[in-house]
């Protein structure tokens, strides 16, 4: 399958590398130093499942190698619209844009640029990081959950699933994208926020009694709002998620993407996480005081970074 990774950051580079290694024809769209490094030296992968190196075809212009049967859409949510516009005309007939971004609002944004049937969604369940340009560090997980917006097990989604399975990174094909997207958002709302503001790993946040209580509170607030939005989530899932995270073997070195961005002085992807939850909470009249607090803090932190940039 001919695949474009739109945004070869940690998530994009991870799925691109795994799919390419399994024999797919993968192209990477990136920018700046990272692009230069990948073009010159390829992509160096350090993974809990073994290290490897790949020569890659990378460009700053997604149309360079178009058309593609599949576009893995992995840019930060604040760049969704501008990146999507760059992709106009890049899809092959019957092709799909599959967003693996954080948040629950990107599918709708993509549908403003692409036809509804061209858009698919999914969760990247992976902990990874671009440590230096051209180098990917994989710390935990790897499976992707993918699905059609209407939940059909289409021929297309099964074909994509097959590629992911061959690459060893298929979680499941979902018939309920809304529920799994909100479930992922729950994780983001607890860990990306707390770890960025506390400048700590997921392990450090959970090791502190106040930290774990706050993470749980943020999980639960997400569950309340997600449920009002039609996601099939229960309060117990918050506890189950914490129990599951505690089983990560290298929890003390798992650092959410927003913390990574903060440390690199990049803009923070908070609006797709806390902002999305606040907007939905407001629609349903649900009180989410902890989410509201971390949202305001991240907004202030981000605006300060922007002013310095």
């Amino acid at each position: 399958m001919k695949i474009l990774v739109m945004g070869a950051g940690a998530i994009g580079a991870f799925y691109g590398a795994w799919l390419q290694r399994a024999g797919e024809e993968v192209y990477y769209c990136a920018r700046g130093e990272h692009l230069r490094a990948m073009k010159e030296r390829g992509l160096a992968v350090k993974s809990i499942n073994g290290d490897f190196h790949l020569e890659v075809k990378a460009s700053s212009d997604p149309s360079e190698f178009a058309p593609y049967e599949l576009i893995l859409f992995c840019v930060k949510s604040q760049d969704t619209v501008s990146a999507a516009k760059q992709l106009i005309g890049c899809l092959a007939e019957g092709g799909a844009v599959l967003t693996l971004q954080n948040g629950v609002e990107n599918e709708a944004l993509l549908c403003e640029v692409f036809r509804h049937e061209q858009v698919m969604g999914g969760n990247a369940r992976v902990g990874a990081e671009i440590t230096v340009p051209g180098q990917l560090l994989h710390t935990v997980g790897g499976n992707a959950e993918i699905g059609e917006l209407d939940g059909r097990k289409s021929e297309r989604v099964m074909r994509i699933a097959e590629s992911f399975r061959n690459a060893g990174v298929l979680g499941e094909v979902t018939e309920d994208l809304r529920t799994i997207r909100w479930h992922k958002l729950m994780g983001n709302n607890g860990t990306n926020t707390v770890c960025t503001l506390g400048r700590c790993s997921v392990g450090a946040a959970l090791a502190d009694p106040e930290g774990i209580k706050l993470v749980r509170q943020l999980f639960v607030e997400t569950v309340w709002v997600g449920r009002a939005e039609g996601a099939k989530l229960t309060d117990e899932q918050a506890d189950r998620q914490i129990a599951q995270m505690k089983k990560y073997p290298n929890l003390m070195s798992v650092r959410p993407s927003t913390l990574q961005d903060y440390e690199k002085g990049k803009r923070l992807e908070y609006d797709a996480i806390t902002g999305a939850i606040l907007r939905a909470a407001k629609r349903h009249g649900i009180s989410v005081p902890a989410t509201e607090t971390v949202h305001a803090l991240l907004k202030l932190l981000d605006a300060g970074l922007a002013a310095r940039a």
């Binding site: 503001l197 506390g198 700590c200 930290g211 706050l214 607090t293 907004k299 202030l300």
Partner: protein, 310 residues
């Protein structure tokens, strides 16, 4: 009056300098590089109310120059026990220890080391920064409000008030010091935490609509706790604090933020921690304060490893 300033950080050094300038016999209790610098070069204060530079008597063993008529207790809350242990037995029969620490828990912590009638409670209102060991920059206000724990006016309160007046640091003699402390906490527990977590100045926070709303939420929560604890404060106090902050404190970097920038330990527990504990004791819900408190705790724990502090 012979006075020990226990803790020569920005607050202690400012008041100590003014008292020495006014002719009181002042000893400074300090540690580490601050002690070294003050021993060698004295204390250097830059202030809109007049600079002060003089050699000072400074020690890491306050018993050396004991007894003292008055001890101004100005260490950070997390150093309370170590500091208190080093000054037991330093007071004569009619002496007093006046604590200017943040929060409302200082007096009960000190009662482990001093009889209750030796302890007096105060509230420091001063904007100052320790910019280098032995060097203080004073920016705004600079007064002490204080009183006896049992609210009486005593011969010693009068004597101390006179000394403070001569030094130009007298704020108010009050029989309701905890209202003052809560009022200060109302500001500190909101601004010190939020500015530290976001690296923004007071003006930067208030200039953002979500930031301003968060500050107000935190202040509302603290006010509810303060009132439940008996403080005579109303919502007008919040308006006054916000007004004052917008008008005069836009460029201010809070003390906790200064500590963070220096890689030092963060005094959050005396602020957000104090509010959260009082809220729990009094049955008041403070979800936003609980959130910033947990974040400050994580920030403190996880930046400690990288810091250069002793």
């Amino acid at each position: 009056m012979k006075i020990l300033v226990m803790g020569a950080g920005a607050v202690g050094a400012y008041f100590g300098a003014r008292l020495q300038q006014a002719g009181e016999e002042v000893v400074f209790g300090a540690r580490g590089r601050n002690l070294q610098a003050m021993k060698e070069n004295g204390l250097d204060l830059k202030s809109p109310r007049g600079d002060f530079h003089a050699m000072v008597r400074v020690t890491d063993d306050p018993r050396e120059f004991a007894p003292y008529d008055l001890i101004l207790f100005t260490v950070k809350m997390y150093d309370t026990d170590v500091a208190a242990q080093s000054i037991t037995g330093c007071l004569p029969p009619d002496g007093a220890i006046l604590t200017l620490q943040n929060g409302i828990e200082s007096e009960s912590r000190l009662q482990k080391y001093f009889p209750r009638d030796e302890i007096m409670a105060g509230c420091a209102r001063v904007g100052a920064e320790l910019i280098a060991p032995g060097k203080i920059v004073h920016m705004t206000t600079g007064v002490i409000e204080f009183g006896e724990l049992d609210r009486r006016e005593t011969p010693r309160t009068k004597k101390i008030a006179d000394a403070f007046r001569r030094a130009g640091i007298f704020g108010e003699l009050t029989n309701d010091i905890f209202t003052f402390r809560w009022s200060k906490l109302l500001w500190n527990s909101a601004f010190n935490t939020v500015t530290t977590l976001t690296h923004r100045t007071v003006g930067g926070v208030l200039g953002d609509p979500e930031g301003a709303r968060l500050i107000r939420t935190l202040m509302d929560e603290t006010l509810a706790v303060a009132r439940a604890d008996g403080a005579r404060l109303g919502p007008d106090r919040i308006e006054a604090l916000l007004e004052h902050s917008r008008a005069n404190l836009r460029a201010l970097k809070t003390s906790t933020q200064q500590d963070f920038d220096r890689g030092g330990r963060l005094e959050y527990d005396a602020l957000s921690g104090c509010v959260v504990r009082a809220a729990q004791r009094l049955g008041v819900d403070v979800p936003a304060m609980r959130t910033v408190h947990a974040l400050m705790k994580l920030l403190d724990e996880n930046t400690e490893a990288m810091s250069s502090k002793p």
